[in-house]
Amino acid sequence: TQLLEQSPQFLSIQEGENLTVYCNSSSVFSSLQWYRQEPGEGPVLLVTVVTGGEVKKLKRLTFQFGDARKDSSLHITAAQPGDTGLYLCAGCPNAGNNRKLIWGLGTSLAVNP
C-alpha cells in the first residue's frame, strides 16, 4: 500500500516566522500536488510538481520535489495569518493502469498575529 506521510501533523507559529512541512513516501510518484484547505471549505490546489528536483515558487511559498520523486517539501517564508490552514499533499503513483491519487493526512498550520 502506498502511503504519504506528512510532518509535522500540527504547527503553531508566530507571524513572520519561517516554516517547512514535509511529505514523504517510500514509493515513487509521477507527480505530486499540494493543496491548502481553510476551515469550512474544500481543498484548493496550490501547485503540482512533476520533475525530480523541481522547485516551484508561489509568492512566499516554495515547493520542492525530491530528486527520486519520493518526497516533497513546502517552505513558507515570513508566514502570515492568512497562511493558516490544512496543507495536504497528494501523489499520483508512478505505475499502474488506474492510478488513483494517494493523499497525505495533512499538516495543520496556525499562524498567530
Binding site: 500536488q33 469550512g40 474544500g42 484548493v44 490546489l45 499520483c92 492510478r99 488513483k100 491519487l101 493526512l105
Partner: protein, 113 residues
C-alpha cells in the same frame, strides 16, 4: 477554479434514513469524485465517475451509491444512514483522470444521529 457547488451544505438526519447529496459543476469536466474527510483518516475516495452513467467504487464505498445522469451532476446516496457516516463530504472534478489535479466543492457536513 471550477464552478462546483454542493447541496445541502449542512444536514442532520436520523439513523436508518436515506440521504442524497448533490454535486453540480459548470466546467464540463469528465471526471467527478466523492470523498469523505474524517480526522485521522484524511480524504478517502468513496466513488468516482468517468462519464455519464459510468461510475466505479473507491476505497470506502460500502453503504453508498452514486448516479450520474448528466455531465454536470453527480449524486451520492447513503442508502440507510449510520452514525459512522457522520462526516464532511467533498465533491471534486477534473478533466484528466484520477491521478491529476482535482477541483473541490465547498463540502457538505452530514451528521447522523
Amino acid at each position: 477554479d471550477a464552478g462546483i457547488t454542493q447541496s445541502p451544505r449542512h444536514k442532520v438526519t436520523e439513523t436508518g434514513t436515506p440521504v442524497t447529496l448533490r454535486c453540480h459543476q459548470t466546467e464540463n469536466h469528465r471526471y467527478m469524485y466523492w470523498y469523505r474527510q474524517d480526522p485521522g483518516h484524511g480524504l478517502r475516495l468513496i466513488h468516482y465517475s468517468y462519464g455519464v452513467k459510468d461510475t466505479d467504487k473507491g476505497e470506502v464505498s460500502d453503504g453508498y451509491s452514486v448516479s450520474r445522469s448528466k455531465t454536470e451532476d453527480f449524486l451520492l446516496t447513503l442508502e440507510s444512514a449510520t452514525s459512522s457516516q457522520t462526516s464532511v463530504y467533498f465533491c471534486a472534478t477534473n478533466d484528466r483522470g484520477q491521478g491529476y489535479e482535482q477541483y473541490f466543492g465547498p463540502g457538505t457536513r452530514l451528521t447522523v444521529t
